[in-house]
Amino acid sequence: MLDNYIPIFLMIAVGVLFGIIMVKLNEWLGPKRPSEEKLTTYESGMEPVRTARERFSVKFYLVAVLFILFDIEVVFLYPWAVSFKSLGWLGFVTMTVFVVILFLGFVYVWRKGALEWD
């Protein structure tokens, strides 16, 4: 029974090893000329340490919320795609309805100007 899983275990082992090897190789081969800037934590261009009580523009939240919304909805498409054949036309129609509703929401958001920054 467990034999079936041997390829998976192998895969995991190779993956972990590969990760460790690459990091160590990098450390070993790369030149090191540290400066203060370089030693700070990388925060996508933001200053890593400053006051936390700062106001963000509401637009950030809007974009974030919209992103999460559409992102999560799209996740539904994966299981449907995998079992596309067995669900047949019923599945197709259902998913079409779903996407149309989503699209309507998208149109609304767009027309309302939620996607424009200024």
Binding site: L90, I101, L104, G105, V107, Y108, W110, R111, K112
Partner: protein, 475 residues
């Protein structure tokens, strides 16, 4: 399978119709921005068509979508309540939103989607659908509560409602998970079938408690009522009207569907808990309402008290209780739409003119509205021949039959207390001189809706058999 699917669609067509209305509204707002009038018309037409469909579908119980929902008399009864509430609310809202300067078409959109959520609750045969319905309804209402974006109290109401609502939703979901864990299903019919073996298991009981808590929150029963006064006071008046009627009815639709139709707990400690909550709601709601100055706040506490009365029927857990709940809800919903409607007419554009004193001498300025308001107050106080009387009558009768005489006595005593604060308004309107600076410019639609509500209150008070017959079909 395909054929089945079409039948399912037909059986759920009222919900589909309401959802489609919502989608059309979304499109309308996208294409023609800021056209409140068009949205107003579309939402009314959509809700009315759903009403036609609910009649056309008939009242034979039929499951749909793999027994996730059930079309039948129960769903029908509540859907009619929701649709009537929705239509009256929308008719009353237009003038109100204009006066308050917040006439935006999203309002109708949110109301329509909230109604679709409520309908899901009435149709639900599965705890997942219950969850879906509650969320769909609540999220729309969080936004509606804060619809008056520029007013602090409205924002505060929205935030509070959202925070505590999310808190309650967590319990609901956790409860569903626990029940699923102990029974292996979320389908209410199947839970009911294997109820005897699970009913006493601790995990199941904890799940049941969590569901109870979540529903009690939605219907604003003590001690989960604390949000109600603040939210009712802060939200735009017509939203409060919608909340205190539609949402309360929807909450009870779910409460009854789960606790009376699926769980057979009558005569057990679960019903004692319900009785305790009912008693606490009646006492705290009525006593606190006595001291209110603001009418919206008074009606909020009164709504807590009325949740208590309806819970008396639930606690009794017998056929009379069921009947009482249905009748009480109908009576309460029409009265509250009417009463809040009048409040929304008198309220000025700064959110003032909502206190008792503003109504002094109202009968001299607006005799017709004052008379209608008195009818609503009398009905709320449970004085015959208005509809509210029969609601109380049936739930108290149910309590007596379920050997909860103490609860019936408490109910009668607290309703005695309530007479004081309801009649205070009537006295002010009729027996006091007012300053006379109340400017009321009602629209025809508003007058029609309030008049219709009053008509129903009297109609159901004098000929309760209309509602009783409809309710009897639900068994």
């Amino acid at each position: 399978m395909e054929n089945n699917y079409l039948a399912d669609l037909w059986n759920s067509s009222p919900i589909v119709c309401v959802v489609l209305t919502g989608l059309v509204l979304l499109l309308v707002e996208s294409v023609r921005r800021g056209s409140g009038r068009l949205s107003y018309a579309v939402s009314l037409v959509g809700l009315a068509s759903a009403g036609v469909l609910i009649v056309a579908v008939g009242d034979v119980a039929q499951p749909a979508f793999n027994n996730m929902i059930v079309q039948g008399p129960y769903a029908q009864f509540f859907t009619v309540i929701f649709l009537v509430t929705g239509i009256l609310t929308i008719l009353l809202s237009r003038g109100y939103l204009d006066r308050q300067g917040i006439h935006r078409s999203e309002y109708y959109l949110l109301v329509v989607f909230a109604i679709s959520g409520m309908m899901l609750l009435a149709y639900a045969m599965d705890l997942i659908v219950v969850f879906l319905g509650i969320e769909l309804m609540s999220i729309c209402l969080y936004i509606l509560a804060g619809f008056m974006r520029t007013r602090g109290t409205s924002m505060e109401a929205a935030l509070k409602y959202f925070l505590l609502g999310a808190f309650a939703t967590g319990f609901l979901l956790y409860g569903i998970a626990l029940i699923y864990g102990s029974t292996g299903t979320t389908n209410l019919e199947q839970i009911a079938k294997s109820f005897a073996e699970h009913s006493a298991s601790p995990m199941f009981l904890v799940g049941v408690s969590f569901l109870l808590v979540a529903f009690a929150f939605k219907v604003a029963a003590v001690p989960f009522h604390m949000w109600a006064p603040d939210v009712y006071e802060g939200a735009p008046t017509m939203v409060t009207a919608f909340m205190s009627t539609g949402v309360k009815a929807a909450g009870f639709a779910a409460f009854v569907a789960v606790f009376m139709r699926s769980f057979q707990y009558a005569g057990s400690p679960v019903n004692d808990v319900l009785a305790a909550i009912a008693a606490a709601s009646m006492i705290i709601g009525n006593v606190t309402a006595l001291a209110q100055v603001n009418l919206k706040r008074m009606l909020a506490y009164s709504s807590v008290a009325h949740a208590g009365y309806i819970l008396v029927g639930l606690a009794a857990g017998n056929a009379d209780g069921f009947m009482g709940i249905l009748f009480y809800l109908v009576a309460y919903v029409v009265v509250n739409v009417g009463a809040f409607g009048i409040l929304s007419l008198v309220e000025d554009s700064n959110g003032q003119k909502l206190s008792y004193d503003d109504y002094a001498g109202f009968s001299a300025q607006r005799p017709f509205l004052a008379a209608l308001m008195s009818i609503f107050m009398f009905s709320l106080a449970g004085i015959p021949p208005f509809a509210g009387f029969f609601g109380k009558y049936y739930v108290f009768l149910a309590a007596v039959k379920a050997d909860m005489i103490w609860l019936a006595v408490l109910g009668v005593l607290t309703s005695l207390v309530s007479v004081y604060y309801y009649l205070r308004l009537v006295i002010l309107m009729y027996f006091r001189e007012g300053s006379g600076d109340v400017a009321v410019r009602p629209t025809w639609a508003a007058m029609l809706s309030i008049g219709f509500a009053a008509y129903l209150v009297i109609q159901f008070g004098i000929f309760p058999s209309i509602v009783v017959d409809a309710a009897l079909k639900v068994f």
